[in-house]
């Protein structure tokens, strides 16, 4: 079914379909699809995927029967179960969780940073059927864990979340994606950090091979705020992690880190884009991948420094280990600098595991497989040892052990 028919058929179940402005925006998007007006050349969102599979899809969405749970299990700590992209509303003196509104949609459609030539983002806007908004109130220090559950096979979740950290607030957010059903989750997170706020955002992805996960996120940081994103992708299904970050006021910071563990025929596409729009801001992007069998990955990293963004520090690094001759990792770091007083660097290293290191370890009595596993662990040791959340650290270690057990 083409996009137009698919949309019209399911229109009544899609958020904000009665809003005229939003409908106009969506008609434009449908036009792009119908007239195949995507720029396919150098389009980062099209690498390693069969676009047809994602455009000719059967729309299916179920409103969750059970009310999703928000549990204030102890002071300043919340557990949220998001079911099919929705969770119930909640309010106390520290946080507020609500449904997303038309204005949130408009807020996104006016966003100039997220790539407009990204068909996954456009599909998200067209078929939006879920999402929520979390506000962390001023000067509160909060921990939230969100378990993202998809209940049935063949569901197509198009979800948009807004996360707002008000002035002086601090949020540690763990998001878990562990789904075993044959579904697709297309999620857009729009994150706003007000002055002096902080967000440590961990994403653990561990879906089965028939579950597609597409996450696009955008963070904007005001004065003295810091956004840190750490993504751990152990999924056996397709995963796309694209993150756009904007440092809009002075002394703000974005730290983006991702590690992916691929095997079999799995594919992971990754992108980070950081826009320095103010003075004295810092960004650091580190992505590492371990690829076995016939797996494939891409990583596009871009740091853009505006003319006004003097005293910028912007660093990018990507590294990959290929455990098989049939695995591939395409990495493209880019810097665009229009200011003259900056410290920026980028680097990318991809290759097989260091045979000299294997020989050294084996010459001390360690088996080849043990040496390989120890070198994989050491490759990501710095990132794993920097996790200051004990619960997260344990979860990641267990998943790493499981991944290593399949390395032969």
């Amino acid at each position: 079914m083409n996009i137009q028919d698919n949309y019209q058929k399911n229109r009544k179940n899609i958020f904000f379909s009665e809003n005229k402005d939003i409908e106009t925006h969506r008609e434009n998007l449908i036009n792009i699809f119908e007239n195949d007006r995507f720029d396919k050349k150098n389009n980062e969102s099209l690498k390693n995927i069969n676009l047809k599979n994602f455009i000719d899809f059967k729309y299916k969405y179920l409103i969750p029967e059970e009310t999703s749970v928000i549990n204030n299990n102890h002071e300043n700590s919340y557990s949220i179960v998001s079911v099919n992209g929705q969770c119930s509303t909640f309010k106390d003196d520290k946080i507020e969780i609500t449904k997303i509104l038309d204005e949130d949609y408009n807020d996104f459609s006016k966003n100039n940073i997220i790539e407009k030539n990204d068909h996954f983002v456009n599909l998200n806007s067209l078929f939006l059927n879920s999402g929520f908004k979390i506000v962390i109130k001023r000067n509160n220090n909060i921990k939230i864990k969100i378990s993202n559950i998809v209940t049935d096979d063949d569901l197509t979740i198009f979800q948009k979340n807004n996360i707002i950290c008000q002035e002086g607030s601090s949020l540690s957010l763990i998001e878990e994606y562990e789904n075993k059903n044959n579904s697709t989750s297309n999620i857009l997170n729009v994150i706003k950090l007000e002055k002096h706020s902080q967000l440590n955002h961990f994403l653990i992805q561990d879906n089965s091979s028939n579950h597609n996960l597409i996450i696009t996120s955008h963070s904007s940081c005001k004065k003295d705020s810091t956004y840190t994103q750490k993504v751990y992708n152990f999924s056996e299904g397709y995963v796309r992690n694209f993150h756009y970050s904007e440092l809009i006021e002075t002394n703000s910071e974005a730290n983006l880190q991702g590690i992916f563990f691929l095997k079999d025929n799995n594919t992971s596409n990754n992108k980070t884009f950081v826009k320095h729009s103010a003075e004295d801001c810092k960004s650091n992007q580190v992505y590492k991948g371990i690829l076995n069998d016939r797996s494939k990955a891409t990583y596009f990293s871009n740091t853009h420094v505006d003319q006004v963004a003097q005293k910028t520090e912007g660093y990018q690094l990507s590294k990959g280990i290929l455990l098989s001759d049939n695995a591939s990792y395409f990495s493209k770091p880019e810097l665009k600098i229009y200011a003259d007083d900056v410290k920026c660097s980028h680097g990318s290293t991809i290759g097989p595991i260091d045979e000299n290191a294997i020989f050294y370890l084996r010459s001390r009595g360690m088996s080849k497989i043990a040496a390989t596993k120890i070198l994989i662990s050491s490759f990501i040791n710095e990132e794993l040892s920097s996790i200051d959340n004990e619960q997260m650290s344990e979860i990641i270690q267990k998943k790493l052990v499981r991944y290593l057990s399949k390395v032969k």
Partner: protein, 246 residues
């Protein structure tokens, strides 16, 4: 015979490196191999340790009644062979202490000996490190990472003293060491020497042999041993160089 190398010929990427090399080492003996750059000394060390980049064209090596070519790299180490590397590999993220603990236990396992527990290993490591003048803080670091040239060589000898091999091959351990470090390293080697283990020392210079007295000195040229004898050969090389042997 502890180690017996017969008519060994080896090539790498179509280039012959070892050409019909013969060498016999008995238990308790210290042998030194001296030779000019590129004569095949390090290749011999790597082939003995099992490095897989080389093509064995001919010959046989017996080590402790085993056909060495039947053993893979780790089995050779577990059987008691140890190579102190000329250029020890830096491995960031692999901590020295658990790595060495795992190495010693893999050897013990093969020998059907009881594995050494954490506490006993920590004591052993501390004592051996102290003998070699190695700061305890260094043991918290990653293998060879950020070490100076001297520290790397000292750390190789620490590994050797922990693993207590039957045959230790020291590949230019003296290179990059100042005189004080050389003394500490060679003292460490001398302390390890017993009637039951053997050493094969590869070096360019006589200086190392002033501290570790070899029973035999061999001159290697173009991948073969061209002369064998006692310490007097080392003195001869120091005086006249390798030219006369080529």
């Amino acid at each position: 015979m502890f180690l017996e190398i017969k008519d060994l010929s080896v090539k790498i990427e179509n280039k012959s490196i070892l050409n019909g090399l013969n060498l016999n080492i008995n238990k308790g003996e210290v042998h030194a191999i001296m030779g000019p750059n590129g004569c095949g000394k390090s290749t011999l060390a790597n082939v003995l340790a099992g490095k897989e980049d080389y093509e064995i064209l001919n010959g046989k090596i017996n080590f402790k009644d085993n056909d060495l070519f039947d053993l893979n790299i780790e089995e050779r180490a577990q059987e008691g062979m140890f190579l102190a590397f000329q250029y020890p590999v830096e491995i960031p993220g692999v901590n020295i202490t658990p790595f060495l603990h795992s190495a010693i236990n893999s050897k013990r396992k093969r020998m059907n000996e009881e594995e050494i527990d954490n506490l006993s290993f920590a004591k052993l490591l501390k004592s051996k490190a102290s003998d070699l003048g190695i700061n305890i803080d260094m043991l918290k670091r990653s293998v060879n990472t950020g070490f100076s040239g001297g520290e790397k060589k000292r750390y190789e000898i620490l590994q050797m003293s922990i693993l207590n091999p039957d045959l230790a091959i020291l590949d230019e351990t003296d290179s990059g060491l100042d005189i004080d470090a050389l003394k500490i390293v060679t003292d460490g080697v001398n302390k390890l020497k017993t009637k039951d283990n053997s050493f094969l020392i590869i070096t360019h210079y006589q200086k190392l042999l002033d501290y570790i007295k070899p029973d035999y000195v061999h001159v290697m040229v173009n991948g073969s041993i061209v002369k064998s004898g006692g310490s007097e050969i080392a003195a001869e090389i120091e005086k006249d160089g390798f030219q006369k042997f080529q």
